[in-house]
Symmetry: C2
Subunit: 491 residues, 2 copies
Amino acid sequence: MSKMTENAAFSQNKVLTIDTMNPNVKKMEYAVRGPIVQRAMQIEKELREGVKKPFTEVIKANIGDAHAMGQQPITFFRQVLALCSYPELLNDNMFPEDAKSRARRILQACGGNSLGAYSASQGIDCVRQDVARYIERRDGGVPCDPDNVYLTTGASNGIVTMLQLLVCGEGASKTGVMISIPQYPLYSAALAELGAVQVNYYLNEDKCWSMDLSELERSLAEARKHCNPKALCVINPGNPTGQVQSRQCIEDVIRFAAKEHLFLMADEVYQDNVYAEGCQFHSFKKVLFELGPQYSNTVELASFHSTSKCYMGECGFRGGYMEVINMDPEVKAQLTKLVSIRLCAPVPGQALMDLVVNSPQPGEPSYTTFMKERTATLSLLAEKAKLTEEILNTVPGITCNPVQGAMYSFPNISLPQKAIKEAKALGQVPDMFYCMKMLEETGICLVPGSGFGQKDGTYHFRMTILPPTDKLKILLAKVKEFHLRFTQQYS
Amino acid sequence: MSKMTENAAFSQNKVLTIDTMNPNVKKMEYAVRGPIVQRAMQIEKELREGVKKPFTEVIKANIGDAHAMGQQPITFFRQVLALCSYPELLNDNMFPEDAKSRARRILQACGGNSLGAYSASQGIDCVRQDVARYIERRDGGVPCDPDNVYLTTGASNGIVTMLQLLVCGEGASKTGVMISIPQYPLYSAALAELGAVQVNYYLNEDKCWSMDLSELERSLAEARKHCNPKALCVINPGNPTGQVQSRQCIEDVIRFAAKEHLFLMADEVYQDNVYAEGCQFHSFKKVLFELGPQYSNTVELASFHSTSKCYMGECGFRGGYMEVINMDPEVKAQLTKLVSIRLCAPVPGQALMDLVVNSPQPGEPSYTTFMKERTATLSLLAEKAKLTEEILNTVPGITCNPVQGAMYSFPNISLPQKAIKEAKALGQVPDMFYCMKMLEETGICLVPGSGFGQKDGTYHFRMTILPPTDKLKILLAKVKEFHLRFTQQYS
């Protein structure tokens, strides 16, 4: 019996097979850690084993993982986390007083004064209070009730939880959720998982990936023919597209949601990552309240933040929060019950979230260092955003919108017809074919645009702007070289 | 317009209401953090505000949260976590060398040498290797492939993920999952969430909560009339029931699963919590392999462990792992994809899991202290298990099985007919009525047996054995007093 037949026979006896497993899980896709990244990891292993390649290292620009790309953690945050982990250090004189007082405050709010106790389901009380005060400061005084704040396991967990609450129905009454295209594939994956209908609206690439009201209307009208659209998701600053939506645009979206009776979900994890001149971050919450009580008393909104992005880049801690506005009290009780079953978000991540929203203040001993580190990180990102846009736009066949914010560029790439044909003959999506070839020839790991969604007939890739400047320059030079060679090869 | 009418009118305009939300979420229940615990928190607030009560503090014995009950963390674990959080401390001479070398090893395995980087989706490689070696040692040399190990966000997350993979179908072909009654309500909640069929099998209270083969057969046969039972879940040592299953029983269960074509899920988070003489923890994996290749090559098994219980009690870190045996390779690829969408388990929890499976060894500087702390914690738990059983059994109308393991006793309570009638008149489950009354009169917070499931007409409560010994004695004395008073009042 051949190996394959053996496997098949063997597999038939299993309880859990590809044919008997949850079909929704099969439909889920997540390009950011998809086949191209798996191949990149294989190549790294081959390099370690001495296999000869046309390059000596894999440069990963596939995921917004700042520390992995060399960004340093904020000293103050890590000092407090060390103090909380091992409170004996509170007796040591090596830590500044503000770090110690933050640690004492967090520990006092923990059961048994330990990060090892479960927190309340919704999160540690004093952390939620600090989050509320942060939101109020950020939004120029718009009030925030700590009871509306839920601490989460990264933003992803909050987003999936909210979608889970929203989804119901079958057939034409099945819940539809509007998401931007291109999108961050957590959304499509979560909707597949929940068996909800993904309703696409396209961002306008020609207008720097802005949201067009007419496109929202088109998308919604079409969706209403076959499902029950209930929610509209916006990622601002944008992932994978790096745009920062204007205040006007956000206002339009809120009016649209109010008029069309849609629940709003605002993914605002890149709120500090704004680089382009003239661009500014406006939270949906703030604009909602500026539109007056007609909106602020009615429109249902959930917004999400995280410790993973901005100047912190602390992805590994899985810290985050969501704020819910105008949520029905009965539904809120259900939400609290739902999160209680997972017991609580990781407590070290909650502590870190607290530090982000309650960072050193002027006059405190750690303030100067904190501000220096924060500013340096954000300035460097702004520099790299500019560099990426400029160099990519020098390549014939690559067009790159300004990276106004977030951590990614999503350039449009022209692929020769011959390449498209060859890809299709191989059963591959053309930009996957392109990115895989780039990986094999240059060691650069990007994510094909098809993993995020794009207009038919257009091709893109997403690359992070996170590699250290010298490496980023090498990466961009290699991308340029590869693109020219690829274009020539298939012309 | 009255407040209520106003709310109703208001609510009708919401997108997300109790009527339009996900119906599966509504069905979920989690007694461990249910109404009685919410009331306990209210009472604590009332006490702080100076409201007079017949007691001065609420004693919580509702949840297995060891640190909140005063258990101290293991020094070595916290030293390494502090070093990993703030690696500057590696230059300090206050930490033992073995703590430093563990920290260095963990950091080297992290992207950018930072706990702040995402790990690989399945977990940090070297941690999975350490887990595999731990399992091999624990199981007397039965091999463990690190590729079969997934690091999780506590055990809960692993259990829900496995159930999610298993569930499919509609109507009579809908997936059924067999769970013990009494059960830990994560299981019933997850099955409700996934829309799967909960198939109950009853533990034998008269035989110290053991599993009876005949009961498994009865349960399965009945379930097959209306669903497609695919998996069998076992919690050993038991939650909420505190039993430790015998080797023979585990063997019987494995043979049953093999014969009946069931996927086995073994929740073994209390594997170090074994107190009773003559009792021993046997992992399902080990027994499976001892049964020979006929079983070890075929039976599909997922087993779960966590940093939250045993002598560690580090619930807040949400660390855990699962090992999958004989899983179809295609399904395993789907599992890896599924976990990749959540990016990774919290990295501090992964680091802590590593320390649990790679603890100080003889000859290392921290060994003596580590062993002293570990032994002290487990001995104290053993003492409290005994104390709880003994005192409860002195109360007429309370019958308590030995607390052989885990962290709970689940005594049977006789309730007078008059009390049952009064509870029903109030629309309450009788043991909820009993526990709520106990909370109001004594400040003791237990969870009614109905939250875990029990044979019709029997009543129980779950209490943890975690309070400090002096407090536990007070608690038990108060329970006794209350039970006598309650019985008299309703006789």
